[in-house]
Symmetry: C2
Subunit: 176 residues, 2 copies
Amino acid sequence: MFAEQGYDGTSIRRIAADADVDPALVHHYFGTKDALFKAVVAAPLDPGTIMPSILQKDPEAIPERLLRTFLGAWESPASGPGFRALVRSAVTNRVSNRLVREFFTQQVQRRLRTLDTGIAPEEIPWRSSLVASQLFGLALTRYILELPPLAHASQEEVIAAVGPTIARYLFADLSP
Amino acid sequence: MFAEQGYDGTSIRRIAADADVDPALVHHYFGTKDALFKAVVAAPLDPGTIMPSILQKDPEAIPERLLRTFLGAWESPASGPGFRALVRSAVTNRVSNRLVREFFTQQVQRRLRTLDTGIAPEEIPWRSSLVASQLFGLALTRYILELPPLAHASQEEVIAAVGPTIARYLFADLSP
């Protein structure tokens, strides 16, 4: 429902009706709509398990592992709709806009500092926000705007084209 | 109003009330809400004038000219709010979602074929959709999600970091 109607268009009352349960039950297990939304979108993106498996060992294979995980998550029926809902509401709703920004600074950037990636700690914010710009752009153009031919390209074609961009943002000299 | 409330949350009646005119006057000059929306967002992006000035002469300076024009348009009080409205509604509303996709294939990709850019015609769709992925991602993360530090970086820093990405998508060998 979040994916289809967006954050504002979704209510706990309608979710409960759809699931044929009492709204009080949803409140009991998930709390507020905010908390429910977090639970819905957080499931497929637990950075505590995903980030170490992407970022630790063979730095030269990080871009491919990152893209493969990212494309796989967007294309999975289990997590794709949640990501779509996340982008839709982050773009239109102030609460989820702030949630995404906080997720990025507190979960992704902070966690990056604790991992052995070979990136200088003071460069992590800049490099990670550039990687985010390409990944969010890929999500938006491939899965939401469905721009051709990017929307129909194979994962291998996307990885070949975008992998070197991620590698450059993570490891290359970016000074003007 | 499109920028703040999104496409669905905006009505010609409320626009007219805000402008202190009769809704019939808005209908008379702009037609439907669709047509009004197109007029609002199309003003700052007339590809017929912008694309030749970015893409013709000195191919090696195209990435910088493209990024400077793109960042300037998003940061201009005259066009920034229109772009924000465009992204917001493209992500949440089916009509503007299709409008953006059509604009990209019919205005941008088709026009690219008529310009002397040095890009092989059969490669224009793939290369232009990759450029779009980075530009849309920049718009989303810098101006809408406001991820730090990308949201606060200078145009020069962004151009230095992202320019080579655009150059590679336009001109480099991208085969797997």
